[in-house]
Amino acid sequence: MTVLDHLELSRRSLLKGGGGLVLYFSISPGRLAAQEGEPTPAPPAAAPSPPKLPGSLSDFPFLDSWIRIDNDESITVFTGKAELGQGIRTALSQIAAEQLKVDFSRIRLLTADTAQTPDEGYTAASHSMEKSGTAILHAGAYLRRMMIGLAAEELGVAAGDLKVEDGAVVSSAGERRSYGQLVSGRSLHVTVNDQTGFFEPGNYTVMGQPVPRVDIPGKVTGEPSYVHDLRLKGMVHARIVRPPKRGMRLSDLDTSRIDDMPGVIRVVRDGNYLGVIAEGEFQAIQAMQALQRAAQWEGGASLPSDTDIYDHLMKLPADTSVINGPETAVSPPDGAKIVEATYTRPYQMHGSIGPSCAVGLFQNGQLTIWSHTQGVYPDRAAIAEMVGMDERAVRLIHVEGAGCYGHNGADDAAADAALLARALPDRPVRIQWMRDHEHQWEPYGSAMVVRARGSVSGSGDISSWNYEVWSNPHTTRPGPAGNLLPAQLISASFEPEAPTNIPQPAGGADRNAVPEYSIPNARVVEHFISEMPLRTSALRSLGAYTNVFALESFMDELALAAGADPVEFRLARLEDPRARDVVTTVAKAFDWTGWEQRPGRGRGFAYARYKNLAAYCAVAIEVDVDGATGRIRLGRAVAACDSGQAVNPDGIRNQIEGGLVQSASWTLFEQVRFDAEGVHSADWAGYPIMRFPSVPETVEVHVVDRPGEPFLGTGEASQGPAAAAIANAVADAIGVRIRDLPLQPERVRAAMQA
């Protein structure tokens, strides 16, 4: 099913039902009650207290939450996860096709929609394959076994005498029952029990194959593919005006000149919230520009500057906790070589190429929002709270946007659509942000500081390890209405909730701060700073990017002190055979031992298992550093990834390669610029990112397949290792360590002259 079909379906349903869609699907009673804050009731009698089911089946144990088969043989698979460009639409369809033994093209996959799909929370944390993929895997296998059982009964033959082919069960005598015939008149509202022993990875023909992405043909030929492409009948266009900086109040506004502009339908003002709706899109932009000139603002919070931000953050109150190792710092033994280092990472942005966009329609008391949010259910709850509506009268439908890489402006734009649509009932209102809205108002990835102090003994052992990380929050998603920017601006404003850190073992600020290496008494301390000078939230890999950059840089610094080869130094402390495999795969493919140094050229290596729980990834890269300019040129890059059972190896390669290149951009170029006057990174000139001439010479990715092993999230696995590998390669090339990101030419020149 294409995005277009999805839109058509939504539109038809919407017109027919006046916004209220009546479609049967199964929400587990446990989950519903939990949302309302009540204790989880006992499961129904038909499902005698099952053990904890795998993936998202634990929340939605019923088969009909995941798969529907109609009499016309059509097969619909449901996921609460959203396609973000990571390719899950294709990978999840592959799992369903494999387990149901039907042709791939027959799978119709419905993604995140509060009227149709299970509540799988946010499409985040690289969880889609682990949670939704695992649920569909088990539901598909369960359904296939159920079909065989029903056919055996109907045909009066033994189950062993039956085989499944393209959606039908066939006996050795050639008698045939289609899935549609078998389920006719039967309920699929049954618990998916454990499937242990039912999978046959050796016989898979769809899973494990590089099936081409289903969405690419439409995207490269101009088919409607994004929420930006949605054109509903009678749709009008809106633009917003945000305050010049955070905390400012709208003190005066004369709209008389704007009201008369061509095409203008309405100026929407609610407290400090300001927007304009017009018939034409460019008319809305022209009105927005006039509105910007007309609006008078006062007050506002003063910001620190990007040059003193680290000192500023470290002086703010912090929630300090020892997350690993002894309570007090470990002293290096006498005679040990001591290494101390401080690493910093500035605020960095998601910087989606397409600015946030949403369409809202308020009609007959129902509010429908089409959005590229990562979480239709949590966003719906927050929006309903903001506008004071019953959640059941609000529907959120996910439609793809430009790549988001975490909590960007999507949810806020959806909230804009809600406010603007409520101001103009019965007409679909499309809001798209301008570039400066996205750059200046999206929540950034937090600035962070890491201080490491360790030592190596004469025998080369790591004899002490003290690691401390300071960080702002890495998740301030809605959540309550107050986490939506527009809700903070309206006259009946909402306050954001007090941010919390994601606890170990996944961690947020401290994600990947605990070394996976065998290091006795490794002490890791987290300083979680709640007060945010700039709004921060989830940027792809959260704290892991900084922690892996710091931890893997520090491993190289210790290896250097020990006079050890960086790869050997790591392998000597890695016990997990799967970790060792990705390390040795990269070392071999890169020809680590045979590599020859030249003046100005260096090589770097890094490894991490994302969250210490998900995909394993190692990266090696070589760089050339121009001593005169300080410019870093990325040469050959090699990566290896173990994502468990590989469903779509090309999808894994695409994610690892893309993560590596994106991280190279963060690492070499990116820093949000700001001072007391506000955020100055308002466009791509004020926030440069990597362009084609600077991308690596080559990137090769090796997928280490593990048939039958659980899926491991991959989308955030390569960012940390890529950053550290580049930093290690630069240190190798110039003989000096740069510990402050980004590795800009002036920093390189300064380091070389020091």
Binding site: P212, N654, G659
Partner: protein, 163 residues
């Protein structure tokens, strides 16, 4: 009224002449290929061709385009019959979110019209105005190399036919 020539057909519009082409393409002609990215000519998502040369449609007023041949992504082929560059992007699976890809394809097409056998450096320089945030660059480069093979075959076939 301004008459535009888009993908070989004429289109009359009453829209104000200062309106950038992008809004007429997307909202009046319902063409999705050109995307709004920055409105500043910094990212290339809106790229279309005017007389075979890439332009930023988010900045170029329609008043400047009367009488010029405009080509959008849709002018290169369709989902059922993709053009050689589109086909090469499909074959190389050269997209993640895909939002920047139409601009990349237009710029690559314009390059190949001028130079059907560009080397790696030439391709990188030609694509420099276009930003990709997903890190799909390596695949995009491979797709342009692949497309150039298609262009060369076309050129040599045309050459043989004319002899």
């Amino acid at each position: 009224m301004i008459t535009l020539n888009v993908n070989g057909s004429t289109f009359d519009t009453e829209t104000a002449p200062e309106t950038p082409l992008l809004y007429v393409l997307r909202n009046e002609m319902e063409l999705n290929g050109a995307k709004f990215g920055c409105g500043l000519g910094q990212c290339g998502a809106c790229t279309v061709l005017a007389d075979g040369r890439p332009i930023f449609s988010c900045l170029t007023p329609i008043a400047m385009l009367a009488g010029r041949e405009i080509t959008t992504l849709e002018g290169l082929g369709s989902i059922d019959s993709p053009g050689p560059v589109q086909k090469a992007f499909m074959d190389e699976q050269a997209a993640q979110c895909g939002y920047c890809i139409p601009g990349m394809i237009m710029r690559a097409h314009a390059l190949l019209l001028q130079n059907s056998a560009p080397d790696e450096t030439t391709i990188r320089e030609a694509l420099e105005p276009s930003l990709c945030r997903c890190g799909t660059h390596m695949r995009i480069l491979r797709a342009v190399h692949r497309a150039s093979e298609g262009f060369q075959q076309q050129t040599s076939a045309a050459g043989e036919a004319s002899q």
